[in-house]
Symmetry: C2
Subunit: 216 residues, 2 copies
């Protein structure tokens, strides 16, 4: 198909497609004339994936590139590929950790070790968790990592179910791209849903405990 | 205490305190000289709360004002107060909902009704949840609101525990301010922790399912 058809089929504008081509995120099409090229189904899949990574995942360009390189690296297994996606999703906490944060990271590591979770040292979520701990302390709470225990329990329950739905057939490129897209959508979209539902459930329980009596 | 002492005790800079005074978020001190005023413990509590709302909660100035007004409104019960805090936390999705979104909101409402949750029509999390649903569909998933069921179950479990820890003694101003601060910290900080833990648990389950065999 021509670039205009690719744009129509994907819902991505022609300037954006040209940007992705220049940035080598999208492979060049097959030249058909001096200023024209032909694009295949593979381009459409890749475009859809890039959109998922940037729009849903909020990935920076360099992280999109890292994910696409991981997909194209035949030597990489499913776990390493999902790890690359996860770490690209961030959050990217810049700067050297403070003294308090270093201590909190060590506490988080002991906590995760106690749960028996296999997570890499590079996982950005470790530091997010350590930040939550230092914030609680800065707000005057006498908290240690055990305060996260109920959250870890439900996170474990959800993740076990979620990972079970990831297809392990990763031989064909499209299947891998599909799995990566699924991981991004699953992580980011259901994360938003979980956060929203927790707030709604808090409102509900607040109504039950503190609200006016129900009229039904 | 003088403004410099208030700054030292709270960790909030003098220009920021002056800004809060000008914006009437912080009540004026008792004048002691033409250019000096005396600040009390109450000012320190209020400052700490404003910091929690803006720094941890990420609240916009107008939402901070709404929360403080709700605190000062003696007629407001605990549930209404917590509701004000919750809605101020957002997210603030601007603009008219699209046709797809209106339909998704109606589906979310039926889903929440089916759960028996008492949540106000104004709760911003309804729309967040509807957005998650429309995103899933845009990504080609054949999803209805029932897909959120496992998330609703764990959200309910967590919220029941969380609301139980909110103090219901709200007669004194400081107690109310403490409860509001607790709600903000509890909602935002544990939300970050929950999100981080889910990602770590996903990595762990991915390692178990797809990773190299464990060497222990």
């Amino acid at each position: 198909m021509r670039i205009s058809e690719l744009s129509q089929a994907s819902g991505v504008s022609i300037p954006t497609i040209k940007f992705y081509l220049r940035e080598r995120l999208l492979p060049q099409g097959t030249p058909t004339a001096r200023t024209q090229a032909d694009y295949a189904e593979g381009h459409l899949h890749r475009l859809r994936l890039i959109q998922a990574l940037t729009e849903i995942g909020g990935l920076r360009l360099r992280d999109v590139r890292a994910v696409l390189q991981a997909i194209d690296d035949q030597a990489l297994g499913t776990h390493e590929l999902l790890g690359t996606v996860h770490h690209a999703l961030g959050p990217h906490l810049d700067g050297e950790p403070s003294h308090d944060e270093v201590q909190a990271i060590a506490e988080v590591d002991r906590f995760l070790g106690g749960l028996g979770w296999r997570v890499s040292q590079a996982a950005p979520a470790r530091r997010t968790l350590a930040r939550a701990l230092t914030t609680l302390r800065r707000m005057g709470r006498d908290a240690d990592a055990a305060v996260f225990e109920p959250y870890a329990r439900v996170a474990d329950e959800l993740a076990a179910r979620e990972v079970a739905t990831v297809s392990s057939t990763g031989s064909r490129l499209e299947a891998v791209e599909g799995a990566v897209e699924g991981a991004v959508v699953g992580t980011v979209v259901f994360e938003a849903a979980l956060v929203a539902l927790r707030r709604l459930a808090q409102e509900h329980h607040s109504a039950r405990r503190f609200g006016p009596a129900r009229r039904d």
